[in-house]
Structures are given as structure tokens and as C-alpha cells.
Symmetry: C2
Subunit: 223 residues, 2 copies
């Protein structure tokens, strides 16, 4: 309703009048947020533009002006949130090649990944994307590309370097990374993929992860 332009003030009580570009981008963001909530809760088909309208406080016509169609809105919203999600995993990658205690470093890395990837909102996003793959194959490609660039790629580089230094015996670093992920994060992830609402048990997670890392190192560690 434009209420923000009258109510919003800065720290000195001076009203902040957004310039047109900012006003538009605020609406833009409100639409994106509302749409993501609705799509996560209802799935693509059952989500209604009506509900997104109510949630966002923006009129339906405005949404269509900004995004053109329900399909384009869906792709823009989900395609926009995916990289942000995986960007949070990137920082954890750098220390593997330089770690003095490789086992501890791998446990730390995979635990950090698991903590994020098992978050209920991210599990929901994952289910949403998987369920709509047939209708939006682009999202499947994007998910794969993002997770590869942010996670697997850097870890493959680290493994390759560790192999060159004689610390790891990995004939195929790419496959080894897939196996490490599968045997650590993958185990609880599979469980939580099919059961909604159940919290992740911390002790259970630690047990799975450290057992998985031990399994991994039993084969690939240069003793």
C-alpha cells in the first residue's frame, strides 16, 4: 500500500523515501520471498498466484508485470535461492589440502555440510526440485552444477593435490569425492528425504559421519 514510504525512518527519525528503483526492488524481493514460501509449502502446481499475492502484499498484476508467468516466477525464485544455499558451504573447503590431521579435517568438513544440507528448509527445497524435475529439468541441471562447483569441484582439487603429495591413494579423485559424500552426508540425507518434520539427532549424525570417514580412509589413506 506504500505504507513503507511514510513510516520508514532512519536512525535520526528522518523519513526514508525510497527512490523508484528501490521501491520496485523491494516489491520484487517481497514477491520472491512470498513465492518461495508458497512453493515450498504447496509444490509448484498447487501453489496459487492468489496466495502469493496475499503473502507478498503486492497485487497480482504487479507480479505478472515483474515475472510474466507462474513458470518464470518459479524458475526465478528457485534458481535464485539455490546458489545462495550452496554458497554457504564453500568456506569449509579450503583447509583440506593443508590439514595436519586429515581425518579430523574430513569429519569437520562433512559435518559442516551435513548440518546445512539437512536443515528442514533445504530438505524441502531439495524435495521440491526433485519432484518438479520432469517439468523443470533446468533446475536439476542447476542443482547439479551448483553443488559440483561449490563442493565436489574444490574437494576433487584437494584430493588430487593430496595424491600428488602421497597422502592419499585415490586412483579416481572424482569418484572418491562422490563416495565420501555418499557415505557421510548421504546416509542421513536419504533417511530425511523420506521423512518430514523429524529433527536431526546430533549424536546420531556424529556417529554416522565419523564411521563414514573411517570407512573412506580405510581404503584411501596412504598408511
Amino acid at each position: 500500500m506504500g505504507a513503507e514510504t511514510q513510516d520508514t525512518v532512519d536512525q535520526y527519525g528522518i523519513p526514508i523515501i525510497p527512490d523508484p528503483a528501490d521501491a520496485a526492488s523491494r516489491k520484487h524481493q517481497a514477491i520472491v520471498d512470498a513465492a518461495l514460501t508458497e512453493f515450498l509449502a504447496e509444490g509448484y502446481s498447487a501453489a496459487s498466484m492468489e496466495a502469493i499475492t496475499s503473502r507478498s502484499g503486492v497485487s497480482k498484476a504487479t507480479i505478472y508485470k515483474h515475472f510474466g508467468s507462474k513458470e518464470r516466477l518459479f524458475l526465478a525464485v528457485v534458481g535464485g535461492v539455490l546458489p545462495k544455499t550452496y554458497a554457504g558451504l564453500k568456506p569449509f573447503n579450503s583447509t583440506i589440502a593443508e590439514a595436519t590431521d586429515l581425518r579430523a579435517a574430513l569429519v569437520q568438513l562433512t559435518t559442516d555440510w551435513a548440518r546445512i544440507l539437512l536443515r528442514p528448509d533445504i530438505m524441502s527445497l531439495r524435495r521440491l526440485v526433485i519432484g518438479e524435475i520432469d517439468r523443470f529439468p533446468q533446475l536439476g541441471q542447476l542443482w547439479y552444477r551448483v553443488s559440483y562447483e561449490m563442493n565436489n569441484g574444490p574437494l576433487i582439487d584437494a584430493f588430487t593435490e593430496l595424491r600428488a603429495r602421497g597422502a592419499l591413494d585415490v586412483p579416481d579423485p572424482g569418484l572418491a569425492v562422490q563416495q565420501l559424500v555418499a557415505v557421510t552426508v548421504g546416509v542421513p540425507q536419504l533417511v530425511h528425504t523420506f521423512s518430514t518434520g523429524t529433527e536431526v539427532d546430533g549424536a546420531e549424525l556424529d556417529r554416522m559421519i565419523s564411521s563414514g570417514v573411517d570407512l573412506f580412509l580405510a581404503r584411501y589413506a596412504r598408511s
Copy 2:
């Protein structure tokens, strides 16, 4: 349209007139088949009872007489096909505990599982169930229960026996089975979960599976 009652004959050319119960159950089956096809192609919400009507050759009212609502139809169809799918995996389980060459037996077992679970129609079913978990949590429970009873359960028993005989060093058979599945079937399954239409490469699959079994045995085999 009842054409079957006039055209169907037995091996001697004698017309077969279905009694009412058979006629009803034929319709029932036609509805189930058509519904499964439609749900797999469109997802739950986008699937239309209209389309299921056309595909099945049965009127819409009949479908509602048989199943009551779209939700009940969905649950009946998907809940019915899940056990059939996993029943095909059961025969492969029995030979593990008695195998002379454990590695070969595990490769064989997980390869058989993978060949079935990676089939495009079963991957689609899996995506459908995952995408609808929030609205149909029963299906998630069912999937988990079925896959546990048909696969993990028997394999856990086999591992427990192999441990008792000193052939395997598995402190936690349940976790070990999860890890074996994750590191063999799970690896290609993850890839195919996010990409539709791509065929499974046989050589690639063999490579992943045997590498996964080697990884598993490097830790758990009693040398």
C-alpha cells in the same frame, strides 16, 4: 464400453463372459494403470481426473465410486505399486551369507539392485513420492518400511551372521548396510535423481559398484 465381453474368447473360441465381479475388477485395474501413468507424468496436483478418465476408458463417476476422491486414488495407486517394485529385489538377498566369494556376491547383489532402482520408471516414482512427502507423509513411511523389509533387513541379518562366523568385522550391521547401499547404488542414484531421461551407462555403473564394494570391504572384511 463392454467390448471385451463380446470379443474375448478362450483357447477354444468360446466367449468368455466376465461375471460382474471380474468386470468391476477389470475397470478397477484400468483405472489404477491410467492413474499411475498420469500421476507419474504430471505429479499429483497437475494430474487431472479428466485425463485419467480418458486414459482408462472409464467414466469419471465410476472412478469416484471406486476410490472416493483424488487423494484416495493417489494413495491407493502409489501405495499399491511400491511393494510390487521392491518385491523384485527380494530374491537377490538370500545368497550373501552362504557365498564362497563375498566380494563377487556383494557386487552381484548391489548391481542387481541398481539395475532395478535406476530404471526410469522407478526413478520417476521415487521423484513423485519425494515431491509429495509434505502432503502424503504416509508414502514416505511406506517407502522406507518397504525398502527396509525387502532389502536392508535381510542384508543386516546376513551381515550379522557373517560377523558371528568371523567373516566380517562389522560393529554395527545396520549402519554398515546403509553405507554399502550409499556407496554403491546411492552414487549413480544421486546423479540420476537430478537428471531425467539420461540412460544408465553399464560400464560406468560397473565401475562405481565394484569400487564401492572394494571401499566397503577395505574396512569391514576380516582379512
